[in-house]
């Protein structure tokens, strides 16, 4: 095998893990390269068939509040949120199944629900467990479970929407943000699905319950279909609308292939998705396969702060106390369970703002300091081996000349061996992109 061949395989598998996974721990890039691109992609996409052990539930054994009447405030709630967020991040860092871990985070951003209104952390975790379980099934099934999810019913006021007085919050955002996209439904559809979805409430035990007396069962014409009157007929109508496949395929293509990917990629993915009966697993397969077929199909992606943090922790093997990373992730503009609104995090160049850049720089410093001196990234940094340093951080292509100049300059900044250059490397522009 020529150097070019194995180097290009190395680049491809590194790309796979940056884009569709949670980064690479020491040794993982070597192992992935030895397997080859196709085999590694298959291992990511089909862990069962490849004997990759499943990951445990991140929140196993936790006892968070599931009381929907919670009004929030108080240190108990804060402690629960921090605990839940910490466990989630840890589980991504140590995931055996990187794709599932990455997708768990993706679907949270898609069905963006905030604990600031839901209050009960246990209900938020319930939503995430449902998303994780449904991430490899069909999208209409996932959408249905989200429609009657207790946290969602609180977040978008579904539990207050009754037949006599429906409110439009979930009905609108479900179509606009979760399934069809703006322009693919009419205002009359918002009113129709608001009525059809009435009757759901959340019990004091934190479970969704359907109360027929609060439900408007009258048949609506919805998305061109007559006779829609409840959650199942609403979901069927959404699934029958061709905009759904385009919208969801577009989201996965945007996440894995980048926001400026070849538009043909989204079209191809939508076709495969539709042909499969809206099987999400088939969609991921199609998009990843397109991605490794050639770089012309994909464009750079700015990683969000949590994903950056997870990948940096996995590469260095380090962690820092919650009081350090919590404040800085908030400063960077992203914290699990606290999206700015139902549209999720804006993403893209919004993560290149001054506030995110400053926070990432400090997080990098904390992590570098906490990295064991024998860990490959820190050892490479201490040795001044910039090519190796880049490789240990999942960038076998290396750093650009400006970053190398920064690394060289950082060696005069003092501190424990390797810490200053490792800080620069983790905070570098190259590491902000996947």
């Amino acid at each position: 095998m020529t150097k070019t061949d194995s180097q290009s395989i190395r680049s491809q598998v590194a790309w796979l893990h940056r884009r569709c996974g949670v980064g690479l721990a020491p040794g993982e890039l070597d192992a992935a390269t030895a397997r080859g691109t196709q085999a590694e992609a298959d291992r990511l996409l089909n862990p069962d068939a490849n004997g990759v052990p499943a990951d445990p539930d991140p929140w196993a054994g936790s006892k968070y509040s599931t009381d929907p009447r919670e009004k929030g405030g108080g240190s108990n709630r804060r402690a629960e949120v921090l605990d839940a967020a910490g466990r989630w991040i840890d589980s991504m860092v140590h995931a055996n199944r990187p794709l599932a871990a990455r997708l768990g985070w993706f679907w949270h951003g898609h069905f963006a629900t905030s604990v600031q209104k839901v209050h009960a952390t246990g209900l938020m975790i319930g939503q995430f467990r449902t998303q994780r379980a449904g991430a490899f099934g069909t999208f209409p099934d996932l959408l249905r479970t989200m429609t009657v999810d207790p946290a969602m019913l609180i977040w978008l006021d579904g539990r207050k929407s009754t037949g006599r007085n429906p409110n439009e919050n979930y009905g609108r955002e479900m179509m606009e943000l979760f399934s069809l996209g703006l322009g693919n439904y009419a205002e009359s559809d918002v009113q129709a699905d608001a009525k059809a979805l009435t009757g759901w409430s959340v019990t004091p035990a934190g479970e969704a319950a359907f109360l027929a007396r609060r439900h408007d069962d009258s048949p609506q014409t919805y998305l061109g279909r007559p006779g829609v009157h409840d959650v199942d007929t609403v979901i069927s109508a959404v699934a029958a609308n061709p905009a759904m496949a385009t919208f969801i395929a577009g989201k996965i293509v945007g996440a894995f292939l980048g926001p400026d990917a070849d538009p043909a990629a989204a079209t191809t993915a939508a076709q495969a998705f539709t042909a499969s009966g809206f099987d999400l697993n088939a969609l991921y397969q199609n998009v990843v396969t397109q991605g490794i077929a050639g770089t012309s199909k994909w464009s750079p992606v700015v990683v969000d702060p949590v994903t950056w943090w997870v990948q940096a922790r996995r590469a260095t093997g380090a962690n820092v106390p919650p009081q350090e990373w919590t404040a800085l992730l908030v400063e960077a503009g992203q914290f699990p369970m606290v999206p700015p609104n139902v549209g999720g995090w804006p993403g893209g160049n919004a993560w290149l703002s001054t506030s995110t850049t400053a926070a990432r720089y400090e997080l990098a410093g904390h992590l570098a300091e906490a990295t064991d001196p024998s860990a490959p990234p820190r050892a490479a940094a201490a040795a001044g081996d910039w090519a190796r340093l880049a490789d240990t951080l999942g960038r076998p292509e290396g750093f650009g000349p400006a970053t190398v100049s920064a690394l060289v300059a950082s060696t005069s900044a003092g501190g424990a061996p390797g810490v200053a250059p490792l800080t620069i490397a983790l905070a570098s522009p190259e590491l902000t992109l996947a």
Binding site: K160, E176, Q323, V338, S405, G414, G415, A420, P429
Partner: protein
């Protein structure tokens, strides 16, 4: 001095001592800012540069309950949510409208002629989507969101020594500031906006090294180039903002290795606007060349339980703005400042069944300052002729509010907004 040992402050004090080495190491940022700081350092009196503060009421503020019309139709449509007549705060000189009780702190501004209300304002043809509506308000151009209206103003008024602190976005949203070339600064929490270094490392040297990551690299794809540019922009902004918020040596970064205190990621709701406006006041007083400040108050999407939620928000809005005015007046800066509110839409005229309101169209916004021709309501919430029989019609285009602000700020407002817009006598002549 070698570049690696130089902090930005030392660089500026040594003015002219770096030259070739600076260019080679990519300290272009420092050169740009040097020109700005030298220019301002030569002034002894506070600059008369005007400052616009734009307060985003995120979620869609219900204009009808904020600026209450004395129209029977209002109470018909809102049997439980309507503000009782005896609770409405009167506005001197008019009986057609009054204020939500929580806005009482603004009635002083109204009396003093410092507050104008623009009612029935929005965009024709806008859907009821938060995100489309915010896009249109951020950009000021329907269906175009590559630049924001403030970003285009920054581009149109940029000078050779472009100062990214001309525009500061707080509260996490800066889309209105997106420009083709001009840089702006975003802060989530000013007190935490700094660049601390690991133990034992020199904060200044490490930041100087980090600066080099921003060196222009031909052939970089656009996204990578943008990622590079963010670094010197951040370093410069942090140094300047630290002067506002530093209370002790350990916080300022001079002793740059302190640990962070725990932060409550949930603790953003109450008090956040107050903090942002206090920081805005400090930024203005510090005379860093700030011209536009964006702040955000979140929570206005009141589909349910509107009465208490909107009441709390409007209360914080009014109190924090009244406090801002007092602070600026005491320090002689009030004449330089104008404050405007904006929100992606107003809300449905009829209340829904969850004690709230759904998305609507025309809203009510506030324009405040000594230059404002106050004590008037421009436009109206015309309940006799609703849009789609449901919403307040946007009889006044949002860009009229922007044109008024930009005309006062100075600069080619018609160019920025595509054409000239009626400003309805909102500015004193």
């Amino acid at each position: 001095m070698t570049p690696s040992s130089m902090t930005r402050r030392k660089f500026l004090a040594a003015a002219g001592g770096v030259g070739v080495a600076a260019a080679a190491s990519g300290l272009v940022w420092d050169e740009l800012l040097r020109g700005h700081v030298e220019h301002h350092a030569s002034h002894t009196a506070p600059t008369k540069d005007r400052v616009l503060i734009a307060i985003q009421l995120m979620g869609g503020n219900d204009g009808l309950n904020a600026v209450v019309p004395s129209d029977g139709r209002y109470h018909d449509a809102r049997p439980t949510l309507g503000i009782a007549e005896n609770k409405v705060v009167p506005l001197s000189g008019t009986t057609a409208y009054g204020l939500h009780p929580s806005l009482a702190p603004l009635s002083g501004l109204w009396k003093d002629g410092q507050l104008a209300i623009v009612d029935g304002i929005g965009f024709a043809g806008l859907s009821r989507s938060h995100f489309q509506a915010m896009d249109w308000w951020y950009s000021g151009i329907p269906n175009q969101s590559t630049t924001g209206w403030i970003g285009r103003w920054l581009d149109a008024t940029a000078t050779a020594g472009d100062n990214p602190l001309r525009a500061v976005a707080m509260g996490g949203t800066a889309q209105a500031f997106t420009a083709r070339k001009a840089l702006s600064t975003s802060l989530t929490a000013p007190a935490a906006f700094r660049l601390l270094a690991p133990q034992g490392a020199s904060a200044d040297q490490l930041v100087a090294a980090f600066q080099r990551c921003g060196g222009p690299t031909p052939g970089d794809p656009q996204t990578l180039a943008a990622a590079r540019l963010a670094i010197p922009a951040t370093i410069g902004a942090v140094h300047d903002v630290a002067r506002v918020t530093a209370k002790s040596a350990s916080a300022s970064g001079a002793n740059g290795n302190t640990k962070n205190k725990a932060t409550n990621p949930l603790g953003k709701a109450k008090g956040d606007l107050t903090d942002q406006l206090q920081t805005a006041a400090q930024l203005i007083q510090l005379d860093l060349g700030v011209r536009v400040i964006g702040v955000v108050q979140n929570g206005y999407d009141t589909h349910a339980d509107q009465a208490s939620r909107q009441g709390d928000l409007l209360g914080e809005l009014a109190t924090s703005v009244a406090t801002l005015f007092k602070t600026l007046e005491a320090n002689g800066h009030l004449d330089r400042v104008m404050v405007m509110t904006w929100s992606e839409f107003g809300r449905r005229v009829a209340e829904n069944g969850s004690s709230g309101t759904d998305h609507g169209a025309g809203g009510a916004q506030f324009l405040m300052g000594n230059a404002v021709h106050g004590s008037q309501v421009v436009g109206s919430a015309n309940l006799a002729h609703l849009q789609e029989d449901a919403d307040v019609a946007p009889g006044i285009d949002a860009r009229s509010l922007y044109a008024t602000s930009l005309d006062w700020l100075g600069g080619p407002s018609s160019e920025v907004l595509g054409r000239s817009w009626d400003t309805y006598g909102l500015l004193k002549t």
